[in-house]
């Protein structure tokens, strides 16, 4: 037994230390110097707010009563944390981008920023958590009574003294002071509380250390090590149930495992520390193993303490307080005091975080929506909104703790610690279907969420809360015993005749069934609003990096003056200015695009949401914006973004294939250009060569003429003739080069007309007759009678024939010298082929490929130097191509060569069969 004075002083010093610590951490954080708060270890320790006095005292009690079942309370969260990658991480990511302030805000934001959803969640949370807070007060009061009273007050006796002598009252008052001081100092963005988090982390260490101290004490002082602890009780019927499962343990085992896992995210205080206060997503990776390790270390000592309590304390001692009574029975006052401080830590940290989380929910989702509807709040500029908000939060905290205290006073003697905790867990578990649906099921609607919450909560209240009141002999005893209106089928603990079930399993089964069925069925029956579709896309695809910027679907506009005024009023002048500065700076730095309205509005709405919650922020903003529409097209586009990504990648593939083809074509074109460039070089050197020869001869004869003494007159005359002749050749050469380059550049504009080919051939033959006679060559015109109409330009066609005939004459070498022109059979309809032949030596194999290129036959090889320029065939072919025909080499052999002129048949003659003409 310890003197009450010592206990009160130590407890007060401890709490004062926490106050100082929180104050110091808040100060450091304001200066940005509190880096340790952003460490994963502090984050993990803050999660340990999960281990309340229910763990600290109740786990041993539960082990003593129900054996190993207490382990499920820690195994459930372990499994949830092991799956951090796909669930908790998603919640954290969403909460960061949406500036979520609580679990009510989260669900409301997902279900179309519905104020109804958040209000409902808040109500359920308050009703579900109040008994839990009462439980903490009860634990502290009971532990205080045990530690200072000797003998301890017999269990079941209600509070011996008035309210002011009740330890629970003073705990509640201290907690209210603490939370109003540190939990509501600012209504700041993200609802982070560095001071509180630091205090919670330290309390978690105190909890673990003091519990471990008791455990080690029982293992090594009361017993001789682990082996001895178990050896000494082997076969003892009082403890045997702790090493084995009772018959039919499965139902409760599964139910408590499930509830504990769910509580890890659905309890408002767990959501607060795990999601809202999370400063870095990567901390989850550490907490995923470190927090289960914390729970493992804590629960390791539960069984030894329970063994000691059951075997060494007198029968009938309250097992919920073994943690205190075991060291006290061994006269270890200091150890007992340490245990008391540990229990106090567990209780206070839970009360602190729960009341903060609930006060944020109450102020944002119950009070603010009403206040904002009042004209003097929304219109008057004189009302300091931030101060009002903080006042509401403080009042909410006082109200929550008052409610918890009242519940504790009224039901003080009833339920063991663990069962109240489990009923609370089952209450908040009603959030689970809506929460899981929020992040994994796009089809879930806000009507479905409301239906599920209402149904689940109603069944929970009926099957679990009502019987717990009845157990406390407080109310509803008749209803629980006989059922409503005496209908036994509807008895709360044996609904629809399900008898023989544990009441927790029974209540959980029915409430979750009602909840899930209502949520799914109503969701499928109702259509989501466009905003819901938008939010569901944002939430469900939160981890998908391609799903971003979906707010672009909302089109609305407002005067920036109005937006600023709104931010100014709700967030206060300082924050409003900073928000706008940040905004313009960030926008300005990226681009100088004129500000569109929606990004600014969305930004301010998010900032507002971080203070008053998504639903209220939306209602505030929608009062000042004009033309708020969510374009259905954009929503559909966002929803189909995956599809879009697929089609984009297909388009990219197609593009890349096209690019490959283009690259290949470019390569080919490049090769061709290189070849042409080389040909041009060859041509230039040929031309220079061709020009140089006549020029040389002209120059040398001119020099002879100007020599002293001058040549004889007849000689001079001959030289002048040669000069004249060579000049003519030069001129002809240049003319032909010009002609060819014009043809190659397609700078021709001849009018093609139908004409009779025979006339042109006859004219060409007449032109060449003189040359033929001079060479002794017989010229034969083998063209048949009757017109051969072709599309051509008369002078140019004649030029081609003249060229070919002149070649034929020049290359005659056979015994009977002959050159001829005749028709041949066309390969294709619509063509006329005229052949020009000789009986010369033919064209050598190696020259056949080059005769149509410029200077294809080198000057020196030509038998008659003065005969041509080497451009004739090239020009002729160009002319024919321009006329839509062709010029090609026919047969060539030792006995003659044939060139074929391909012409386009004129329309009027097109019907005449070619064969006929050929004959």
């Amino acid at each position: 037994m310890l003197g009450s004075g010592i206990v009160v002083v130590v407890a007060s010093l401890y709490l004062a230390g926490l106050f100082l610590l929180a104050f110091w951490a808040d100060r450091r954080a304001e200066k940005g110097a509190a880096r340790f708060i952003g460490s994963p270890v502090v984050y993990t320790l803050s999660l340990a707010v999960y281990c309340t006095s229910w763990t600290f005292y109740g786990a041993v009690g539960s082990a003593a009563r129900n054996g190993l079942e207490f382990l499920t309370i820690y195994l459930g969260p372990t499994v949830v944390l092991m799956g951090w990658w796909f669930f908790l991480r998603k919640l954290v990511r969403i909460s960061k981008t949406q500036r979520i302030t609580s679990i009510a805000d989260f669900l409301s934001a997902r279900y179309g920023k519905s104020p109804a959803v958040s209000a409902l969640v808040t109500l359920i949370a308050v009703i579900g958590i109040t008994p839990y807070i009462a439980l903490q007060l009860k634990a502290v009061a009971a532990s205080y009574n045990v530690i200072v009273l000797d003998p301890p007050a017999p269990p079941g006796e209600p509070h011996p003294a008035g309210v002011f002598a009740d330890t629970g009252f003073w705990v509640a008052v201290t907690m209210a002071a603490f939370v109003t001081l540190f939990g509501t100092r600012t209504a700041h963005a993200n609802e982070r509380h560095p001071g509180i988090v630091t205090a919670i982390a330290v309390e978690s260490i105190v909890k673990l250390v003091s519990f471990a101290a008791i455990g080690i004490f029982t293992l090594y002082m009361l017993h001789d090590g682990i082996r001895d602890t178990f050896d000494s009780v082997l076969g003892d019927p009082r403890v045997a149930h702790m090493f084995t499962f009772a018959d039919g343990y499965e139902g409760r085992w599964i139910a408590t495992l499930f509830l504990a896992g769910v509580a890890m995210v659905c309890l408002p205080r767990q959501f607060q520390v795990a999601v809202v206060e999370n400063s870095d997503e990567r901390h989850l990776a550490t907490a995923a193993w470190l927090f289960p390790l914390y729970m493992l270390l804590l629960s390791m000592f539960v069984v030894p303490i329970a063994i000691s309590g059951l075997t060494q304390l007198p029968e009938g001692t309250n097992p919920d307080l073994f943690v205190l009574t075991v060291p006290m029975s061994a006269d270890q006052g200091v150890l007992a005091l340490l245990a008391f401080i540990g229990g106090l830590s567990a209780a206070t940290s839970m009360v602190i975080v729960s009341s903060i989380a609930l006060s944020i929910m109450i102020s944002n989702h119950l009070v603010m929506p009403i206040l904002l509807r009042l004209p003097f709040m929304s219109e008057s500029r004189s009302v300091d909104f931030t101060a009002t908000l903080l006042l509401v939060r403080r009042l909410s905290i006082v109200a929550i703790l008052t409610l918890g205290f009242l519940y504790y006073r009224l039901t003080a003697s009833s339920n063991p610690l663990a069962s109240i905790g489990l009923i609370s867990f089952a209450g908040v578990a009603q959030f689970l279907p809506a929460l899981v649906g929020a992040v994994f099921w796009r089809r879930g609607t806000h009507r479905g969420a409301i239906a599920g919450l209402v149904a689940g909560f109603a069944v929970w209240a009926y099957t679990l809360l009502v019987p717990s009141f009845a157990d406390a002999e407080w109310a509803f005893q008749g209803l629980v015993a006989e059922g409503p209106w005496g209908i036994a089928m509807l008895r709360p603990t044996e609904l629809f005749g399900l008898t023989g079930w544990d009441s927790l399993v029974h209540g959980l089964l029915w409430s979750m069934t009602a909840n899930v069925v209502a949520y799914c069925v109503v969701s499928l029956m109702s259509d989501p609003s466009p905003l819901e579709s938008l939010q569901s896309a944002v939430f469900v695809n939160a981890l998908n990096p391609s799903e971003r910027g979906v707010e672009g679907a909302v089109k609305r506009s407002a005067a920036s003056r109005d937006i600023f005024r709104l931010a100014h009023r709700i967030l206060g002048p300082q924050r409003a200015h900073r928000i706008f500065q940040d905004y313009t700076r960030r926008r300005g730095r990226i681009d100088d695009m004129p500000d569109r309205d929606e990004p600014l509005i969305a930004h301010v709405e998010r900032e507002l949401a971080s203070t008053v919650g998504a639903a209220s922020a939306r209602s505030l903003v929608s009062r000042i914006v004009k033309g708020e529409t969510i374009s259905l097209d954009s929503v559909i586009e966002i929803l189909d973004r995956t599809q879009q990504a697929v089609s984009t990648s297909q388009a990219l593939e197609r593009k890349s294939r096209e690019l490959e083809v283009t690259a290949r074509q470019l390569r080919q074109a490049n090769e061709q250009l290189t070849r042409l460039d080389r040909m041009k070089d060859d041509f230039l050197s040929s031309v220079s060569h061709e020009l140089r020869t006549p020029m040389t001869s002209i120059r040398s004869f001119a020099e002879i003429l100007t020599d002293d003494p001058p040549p004889r007159p007849e000689e001079a005359r001959r030289f002048l003739e040669i000069i004249h002749h060579e000049s003519q050749r030069l001129t002809r050469l240049l003319d032909e080069i010009l002609d060819l380059s014009r043809l190659e550049a397609s700078e021709v504009n001849w009018e093609l007309e139908p004409l009779d080919c025979r006339d042109v051939v006859a004219a060409a033959i007449e032109t060449m007759r003189g040359l033929a006679e001079q060479q002794g060559v017989v010229l034969e015109n083998r063209l048949v009678d009757g017109p051969v109409l072709v599309m051509a330009e008369s002078d140019r066609l004649k030029q081609v024939f003249v060229n070919l005939i002149s070649n034929a004459i020049k290359h005659n070498s056979g015994p009977d010298q002959l050159a001829w022109v005749g028709l041949a059979g066309a390969e294709r309809p619509g063509e006329v082929v005229v052949e020009v032949g000789d009986n010369g030596p033919g064209i050598p194999m190696e020259e056949r490929d080059v005769i149509f290129s410029k200077f294809g036959r080198s000057w020196t090889q030509r038998p008659n130097r003065a005969a041509g320029t080497g451009l004739g065939l090239a020009i002729s072919r160009q002319i024919m191509v321009h006329m839509g025909g062709n010029l090609r080499l026919g047969e060539t052999s030792g006995t003659g060569t044939v060139f074929a002129v391909v012409l386009r048949r004129a329309e009027a003659d097109a019907r005449t069969p070619t064969a006929e003409v050929a004959e």
Binding site: F86, F245, I590
Partner: protein, 96 residues
């Protein structure tokens, strides 16, 4: 990518495996009146599985965080007064 995908699947399978082993009937297998190292088998088995699960989670979580950082860079941290929604809706990139 392959390694990352494997780790991600492991991170999903690990809690599922842990859940199964902690659920009846599997956990009931260890409900035997046997002492191992002087400790009854059932609580010992639960604690051993628990510890192994914690160890595996730690290994996978560290590897996953590293692989994720390699793949996607460090996760985006909102500035203290928040600018968290990534590129503005007009498609401009903030160029983190």
């Amino acid at each position: 990518m392959n390694r990352f995908g494997r780790l991600r699947d492991l991170a999903v399978l690990l809690p599922v495996g842990a859940l199964l082993i902690f659920l009846p009937p599997y956990i009931g297998i260890f409900d035997q009146p046997v002492l191992v190292l002087g400790i009854p088998l059932l609580p010992l088995a639960i604690f051993v599985f628990w510890l192994v699960g914690i160890g595996l989670t730690a290994v996978v979580a560290r590897a996953l965080n590293r692989a994720d950082a390699e793949l996607n860079g460090p996760p985006e941290q909102p500035a203290e007064d928040g600018w968290t929604t990534g590129p503005p809706p007009d498609g401009g990139d903030l160029g983190r």
